[in-house]
């Protein structure tokens, strides 16, 4: 791993439980995320990984427990407030604005940062014009970074899957998040696309110092790029620690490979 400096706890999840009627999606989950680290949540299908992410992101309200972000504790948040606090996310099943161009999709990530008056924007007057240009420059940097220059004006719906995943990441990056939640960024990709995506994730983490919470199925990838890993199974936490620790954890091996091993 590179010599990056891992800071204090930025996100602290305490005793989170989530129930849908009688179904327990999550039971008493606690873990923390430190500044600048890549923290992964892994587990078999239906382990509650996405539910966990949705709790942090404010899509679900946990039945019990609390989440502390940068020293502020909350037990109820909506997605917008979470976005305002500097948490961005990508989606497992792409949730892009399909009819809009790549550029507009990523620009929409700047939405919270655009302050100028609607009328000034429409008339393209002075400060509004300058603001738009400033945001556009930022977005162009992201487009360069993700190597999608050639598709700037293409409607996202027409792009191949791997590129759509990049646009999803680009939109999240446009928010200049402090914490980036990635929900299976490599699902359904081929080896080459996976390698590209890994490189982007590592670069984001390295260059911008963005803290990353990553959900992933592919154990190989997770073990390679993560600083620490949480393992969930049936909504319970069964392992937590550095990749090597987790790899040798009996419970984790059992969950992944079955009881016979």
């Amino acid at each position: 791993m590179s010599t990056k400096k891992i800071g204090d706890v930025i996100l602290d999840v305490k005793n989170i439980s989530l129930r849908f009627g009688g179904v327990k999606a999550l039971t008493d989950i606690s873990f923390n995320v430190r500044e600048h680290e890549i923290r992964s949540i892994i587990g078999p299908n239906g382990a509650g990984k996405s539910s966990m992410l949705n709790c942090i992101n404010g899509v679900y309200t946990p039945s019990e427990g609390s989440i502390t972000f940068r020293g502020k504790t909350f037990d109820h948040m909506n997605s917008r407030q979470v976005a305002e606090m500097g948490v961005a996310r990508t989606f497992q099943n792409l949730a892009l604005f399909k009819g809009m161009s790549v550029l507009d999709n990523i620009m929409s990530g700047r939405n919270l940062k655009i302050k100028s008056n609607l009328l000034l924007q429409a008339l393209r007057i002075g400060p509004a014009e300058r603001e738009e240009i400033r945001h556009r420059e930022f977005v162009e940097r992201i487009i360069d970074f993700l190597e999608i220059q050639a598709f700037r004006k293409t409607p996202v719906g027409q792009l191949p899957y791997g590129l759509q995943k990049r646009v999803d990441l680009g939109r999240a990056l446009a928010m200049e998040p402090q914490v980036l939640l990635l929900d299976e960024p490599m699902a359904g990709m081929n080896v080459e696309e996976k390698q590209d995506m890994c490189r982007f994730i590592l670069d984001v983490n390295d260059e911008f110092g963005t803290t990353i919470v990553l959900i992933e199925h592919d154990m190989g990838v997770v073990m390679d790029i993560s600083d620490r890993v949480v393992v969930l199974d049936y909504g319970k936490k069964i392992g937590d620690g550095a990749p090597d620790e987790v790899r040798n954890n009996e419970d984790v091996i059992r969950a992944y490979l079955g009881a016979g091993h």
Binding site: S79, F97, M100
Partner: protein, 309 residues
């Protein structure tokens, strides 16, 4: 030839009014995925408000300048439409987030009848006039080419200009502003829009407001041509085929669809009507819409429906 042109122009003018109503449908559908059956009721409501305020404001304030009074009435009716938009969002839509399209359609059906009733109890149920001082006298064009020229209503020309300006303003709003971008984003994916911090509720109020203003302009023009009365609400039914023709998600589609239907109605009535005993104007638009549903269900400009398997 001169007669053909006159019919054509008459059709274009009628079509433009259909376009304005269709535009209201498209705006709301684009931004919230709701097929707003209440658009016609909103046109009636807005026109009633405008007509009544134009009477009340001079009576209350003693302003006897017709232009000022009309302007104030327009602003007052605009405020009323804002309140309507806000109330619809707060009382209805907010509670129906993520519901099926059919549920939302039924909700707007309810809103339709409620607004028709409320409009009449608030503003009365007589036939009112909106007089914004549009010239009623006809003018003649191309007199050098055709003997006697072509008869055109000045009123229609002004109405067309207003409609064109409105459409231009809307396309700038949608394409060039961050709010417009947010609106398009909400239309595509609610959840993703929320995750990047777009406030769903505020966006909906904005969309319904914009649709309300479009309804107001449409109501004002129709009202000044034909008077404001209950039947204005059924204008929405005439705009349905326009939306099917143009595509539910396309602003240019609404405009061109409206023009095609307006022209088609008039030309078929005049040139085909005598052979079948007339009455084509009433059903022409619907038959055209049916043909489109069979052969091009997404409309002329709608987004093609492609699903990855």
């Amino acid at each position: 030839m001169a007669f053909f042109l006159e019919t054509l122009i008459g059709g274009l003018m009628a079509g433009m009014l259909y376009s304005l109503v269709a535009l209201g449908f498209v705006l709301i559908y684009k931004a919230s995925g709701v097929f707003n059956f209440a658009q016609g009721a909103m046109v009636l409501f807005a026109a009633l408000a405008m007509a009544r305020f134009a009477e009340w404001i001079p009576a209350w304030t003693g302003i006897d300048n017709a232009i000022v009074a009309n302007l104030l009435a327009f602003v007052a009716a605009g405020v009323v439409m804002f309140l309507v938009a806000w109330a619809i969002e707060f009382l209805v839509l907010r509670h129906l987030v993520n519901q099926e399209g059919a549920t939302l359609l039924m909700a707007t059906l309810g809103i339709t009848y409620f607004m028709e009733g409320l409009g009449q109890s608030l503003f009365g149920s007589d036939v009112y006039k909106i007089d914004v001082g549009m010239p009623k006298d006809p003018m003649f064009a191309l007199e050098s080419i055709f003997q006697g020229g072509i008869l055109i209503n000045k009123e229609d020309v002004i109405a067309a200009a207003i409609a064109a300006a409105l459409v231009a303003a809307l396309s700038v709003f949608f394409q060039k502003t961050a709010t417009g971008r947010a609106l398009r984003a909400v239309a595509d994916d609610h959840q993703a829009a929320q995750s990047i911090g777009i406030p769903l509720n505020r966006i909906w109020v904005i969309v319904w407001c914009v649709a309300g203003v479009v309804a107001l302009v449409a109501g004002m023009i129709w009202g000044s041509k034909l008077g404001v009365q209950f039947s204005l609400a059924t204008v929405a039914l005439r705009a349905l085929p326009v939306v099917i023709l143009g595509g539910l998600t396309s602003v240019p589609g609404a405009i061109i669809g409206g023009l095609i239907i307006g022209v088609g109605e008039k030309l078929s009535e005049v040139y085909l009507g005598p052979f079948v005993g007339g009455g084509i104007e009433i059903w022409f638009a619907y038959v055209l819409a049916l043909v489109f549903l069979l052969f091009r269900p997404q409309g002329l400009f709608g987004e093609k429906i492609i699903d990855r398997v």
